[in-house]
């Protein structure tokens, strides 16, 4: 019994770390930049493939590719915002119109990124093995080392980002813009820059999550959607615009998923949708929201 509980909890934490990372990323893009990025999962896929390529082709350690993937995908997100979403924002009459238009643009982006990935890497499944050996905890619970590593890295990334938001000049500007964009501008925050940064950081987190995912699972060009959906559910669960809420929500959803899949693996995703719908009906501000 104890062993089962330990298994479910650790399993939940392991996947929850990844959920937390991708949800914090989406939270920056949707909560602050107001772009409901349907293509979020595609950035995860890109991160996975870049890591696969740098390992298989160039022999770069997957953990080190965090330093390649992160900056690369950050720049991609940042430039995308300046070239695409900033313009859509300027031509949209209202904030509601912007949310609709930018979501449609993301929809297109999703197909474009998927097709580009198929052109580069082909449509098949790719994988590699890395740190696959088991680590045993007392009481017979055993977990693969790569999954323990991903949890540790995900938590470290979130902590570093949290410190960045609470301590740095730029981070404070992002927090102010998240709370009230107009007033942030009045105290001197360059809103265009902050929105592009948020989109870039959101993409960066997705990319890094992709690196971590690729250490444990196979990657393929169409893998993104499932992660996008999970990210959206977690952002709603944690409360829109709350970065801490997204982090905690990710861990919580990981635990719930682990519990459900222990009972009946086929029901995991269905249980997420159920939670999502109940939340929208009962508490649309999220469990950690006000």
């Amino acid at each position: 019994m104890i062993e089962t509980i330990l298994n479910v909890v650790v399993d939940g934490l392991l996947i929850g770390g990844i959920y937390a990372l991708i949800a914090v990323g989406l939270s920056l893009q949707y909560g602050v930049a107001k772009v409901l990025n349907i293509a979020h999962g595609e950035f995860i896929m890109l991160g996975g493939f870049i890591t696969w390529t740098s390992y298989k082709v160039f022999g770069i350690n997957p953990l080190l590719s965090v330093a390649i993937c992160g900056p690369l995908i950050f720049v991609l997100g940042f430039v995308l915002h300046l070239a695409l979403f900033k313009r859509i924002r300027m031509t949209s009459e209202t904030e509601g119109a912007f949310e609709g238009n930018s979501m449609l643009a993301c929809f297109g982006l999703m197909f474009i990124i998927q097709n580009v990935a198929i052109l580069i890497w082909g449509a098949g499944i790719k994988g590699y093995s890395y740190l696959g050996f088991p680590v045993s905890f007392g009481g017979g619970a055993v977990f693969p080392a790569n999954r323990l590593t991903t949890l540790a890295v995900a938590v470290i990334i979130c902590i570093v980002f949290y410190l960045f938001l609470s301590r740095s000049h730029m981070g404070k500007g992002i927090r102010a813009a998240a709370q009230d964009p107009d007033t942030a501008q009045l105290v001197g925050v360059d809103i265009n820059r902050v929105l592009a940064l948020c989109f870039g950081f959101g993409a960066l987190m997705a990319g890094l999550a992709g690196t971590l995912v690729s250490m444990c699972y196979k990657v393929e060009p169409t893998m993104g959607l499932e992660y996008t959906i999970i990210a959206i559910i977690v952002v709603v669960l944690g409360g829109m615009g709350s970065i801490l809420g997204s982090f905690l929500g990710g861990i919580l959803l990981g635990l719930i998923g682990s519990l459900v899949s222990h009972i009946e693996p086929g029901l995991t995703l269905a249980s997420f949708y159920l939670i999502f719908m109940i939340l929208l009906l009962v508490k649309p501000t999220g469990i950690f929201g006000k």
Binding site: H169, K172, G173, R175, A176, Q179, D180, D182, T183, A184, Q185, L186, V187, G188, V189, D190, I191, N192
Partner: protein, 234 residues
């Protein structure tokens, strides 16, 4: 110092500013008064770059600021302290003040400026660790003003600071506002509280339905029949 010429502004098809002109000299405390919905906030938003104008031009320190972002206008030394305080409720008093020093030029000197603000508003130092949302109305307005002053502005535009405050708090606030002018900060004070405002202002503009209908020294306006009837109930 600030020159506003022929501003027109619309919300959709509805025109809210018609040919507004405003001229503020260095070191003055100028008031902009008018009833609810006259267009005072809209005018300030078009000046500080939050809202686009249909036509007209704004010069600050002899330079056109028509095409600048709000953040660039703040950087030049124009501080807009918004109506309704607009504090960052998820941040502490101290963090709110620090946000006011966001422009690069002010950020380096923020510790020093913070001391000056704490001297001006001692209550803010006492409450520095508290969340902004837990302050009283008067304290919140002081925090909004302190935050606006943290950027070391040359001109400070304050939108309806007395709104919702008790008479004692208004008195205290207005004392501080006139002391700002005495310290060399040029002030544009937007108010509905006409009598008290004219008592501390050097000059004033009266805005009605998006038009400037009267302007002059505070002394002249306090004597004006129109002001006495329409705004002071005399």
């Amino acid at each position: 110092m600030l020159k506003v010429e022929n501003i027109q502004a619309f919300y959709g098809k509805i025109q809210v500013l018609r040919d507004v002109n405003l001229d503020i000299n260095q070191g003055e405390l100028v008031a902009l008064v008018g009833a609810n919905g006259a267009g005072k906030t809209t005018l300030l938003n078009t000046i500080s770059g939050l809202m686009p104008k249909a036509s007209g031009s704004v010069k600050f320190l002899e330079k056109s600021i028509d095409n600048l972002l709000p953040s660039q206008i703040v950087e030049m030394g124009f501080s807009h302290i918004p109506e309704g305080r607009k504090l960052f409720s998820g941040m502490s008093v101290r963090e709110n003040l620090e946000m006011g020093a966001y422009p690069k030029r002010a950020w380096k000197k923020r510790e020093e400026t913070l001391r000056e603000i704490y001297n001006l508003f001692p209550i803010l130092e006492e409450r520095s660790a508290q969340f902004a949302s837990t302050l009283s109305g008067g304290q919140q307005q002081m925090l909004a003003m302190g935050r606006g002053l943290m950027s070391k502005p040359r001109l400070c535009a304050i939108d309806e600071p007395s709104n919702g405050l008790a008479p004692m708090a208004v008195l205290e606030l207005f004392k501080i506002i006139s002391s700002l002018r005495d310290q060399g900060v040029t002030v544009l004070l937007i108010e509905q509280n006409v009598k008290q405002t004219l008592e501390i202002a050097d000059r004033a503009y009266v805005l009605e339905n998006g038009r400037v209908v009267l302007e002059g020294s505070s002394g002249e306006l306090l004597e004006s029949d129109h002001i006495r009837k329409a705004y002071m109930g005399l």
